[in-house]
Amino acid sequence: MREGFKSLKIKSNLEVSAKIFEIRLQMEHKKEIKPGQFFMIKGWEATDPFLPRPLSVADVEDNCLTFLYEVKGQGTHLLSKLRVEDTLDVLGPLGNGFTLESGKKIALISGGIGIAPMFYLLKNLDAPVDFYAGFRSTVYWMDKIESRVNTLYVSTEDGSTGHKGFSIDQFNPHNYGLVITCGPVPMMKKVLELCEGIVPVQVSMESRMACGIGACLGCTIETANGIKRVCKEGPVFKGKEVLL
């Protein structure tokens, strides 16, 4: 039997960049969590907002579970107001997670808050990694990532840090044996185009979710292999499967 929603104590909930928060939770016991998996989270008691929200696992260290999230609408806004001593209800881990392969040289390509699952992934990769991180303007979590990668390519749309432009501008698919990407759809689409026929890609997809466990069929996407649930068969899909 899997656990339903659990109330976890908040250890910290800090704004690491404008509208970007890092929240750390105290788990009661160690859980097996794969990089790329997510939790459904609920930081309110009444019925508005109604649905829990999906957040990717950003880090796990001892019994501490970390999410990195961007404040978008009401749910993440309410989340950002929680403080130490408050609790957060979480359900998970959910979804398939990334397929880890060793030996091959790997490129991780993120755009904006798509960086969320990448740090925990990085910690679990047993291979040389180059990291391409794109942001609109301010950058975050680069210090945590820098020491763990071969080369870190940072880009910002306004040029305030690193390369001015997009993360994929500096990326050459021929240099890698595996590419993993998470970020805005147009970016992931571009990655797939660049890699097509050259190197396999894993993409972490988003979709609106209700149940998070595969029961409502609300989060489906069309793939080359038929209709798939992002929460159950995903959120990580093979690049050649997804139709962006």
Binding site: M1, T47, F50, G214, A215, C216, L217, G218, T220, K232
Partner: protein, 307 residues
């Protein structure tokens, strides 16, 4: 000690709590979280004769205390259900309702004929699906359309037949009467309300179909009123639902006249919500000295309506 058991149409339910169609799949996902034998029953995802891929585009949109959905009856089709899902469901030790959606009347009939041959305990006929011959309007809006489909289904259905009413019906108590007159052995209500949402930046409806189905606590006061009205209009067993989120809501539906209740969107907020509701009902009965639920079922007395 409270006894939560409910018997309707010669079928024994351990307790009055059934998980609602479309919110619990075929039980497989929730079986990871709790022992499904604790449930009164499970209503399957809506089945159609043939496999359906469901709707394209956005399928979910959150609203204040509710949810708009436009899943579009994605399901593997009746044959695959019978082969791949039903054996698992029947193993769970709870009452299994096969919820049947349709496209044409003929599809309904063919699907029911197949289900007649199985160990399914009951049929729940969803008449909110578009009736192609009636210009795309659902069978469940006008009494005459509903009568036709219920009569024909009843003629061939060998299982107890529950007809699931749409709250979009022109007149819910007349609709209930029509369905019972046409052979419904029991009624369940409500299905989702037609609603919509607009993406103001795109200047377009959120859903490809424009209209989607509203469920959740937002609809509870209306659903409860409809259950109460219907319970005054007919004498067959009633399965009430619409926004049930805790045992108090469930008790309200029972007091309004429900024999059994269903939990839909609540399953999304918490996969084990139905257990909380079952436990809550039991505690409430013990605290209030209620031995059987029929002591409180429809206990409001004769009321007049102010429409």
């Amino acid at each position: 000690m409270a006894d939560m058991a409910v018997n309707i149409l010669d079928i024994a339910f351990k307790n009055p709590v059934i998980t609602a169609s479309g919110t619990f799949g075929f039980g497989r996902e929730h079986a990871d979280f709790f022992d499904l034998s604790r449930l009164g029953g499970i209503s399957s995802k809506g089945l159609t004769l043939h496999k359906k891929d469901g709707n394209k585009g956005i399928r979910l949109h959150e609203t204040a205390s509710g949810l708009l959905n436009s899943i579009g009856l994605q399901n593997p089709g009746v044959d695959a259900f019978i082969q791949d899902e039903l054996p698992f469901m029947k193993d769970q030790g709870t009452v299994i309702l096969a919820n049947v959606g349709g496209g044409t009347l003929d599809d309904y009939l063919k699907a029911i004929e197949k289900l007649n041959q199985t160990s399914v305990d009951m049929i729940e006929l969803n008449i909110s699906c578009p009736n192609v011959s009636s210009g795309g309007m659902a069978f469940g809006i006008r009494c005459l359309d509903a009568e036709k489909v219920v009569k024909e289904v009843k003629a061939i259905c060998t299982k107890p037949l529950i007809v699931k009413l749409s709250p979009n019906a022109e007149n819910i108590s007349q609709m209930a009467e029509s369905c019972v007159k046409s052979g419904a052995d029991a009624l369940s209500l409500v299905n989702t309300f037609s609603g919509m949402a607009i993406d103001i930046l795109k200047r377009k409806p959120v859903f490809n179909n424009t209209i989607a189905g509203l469920s959740g606590p937002c609809i509870k006061p209306i659903a409860l009123r409809m259950v109460h009205e219907v319970s005054k209009a007919v004498t067959v067993p009633i399965i009430g639902m619409g926004g049930i989120m805790d045992y108090r809501d469930a008790i309200e539906f029972i007091m309004a006249g429900s024999d059994l209740i269903q939990i839909g969107s609540g399953n999304f907020i918490n996969p084990t919500l139905s257990l909380d509701v079952i436990d809550g009902i039991e505690t409430f009965m013990n605290e209030q000295g209620i031995k059987h639920l029929n002591e409180i079922k429809g206990c409001l007395g004769k009321e007049t309506f102010f429409n």
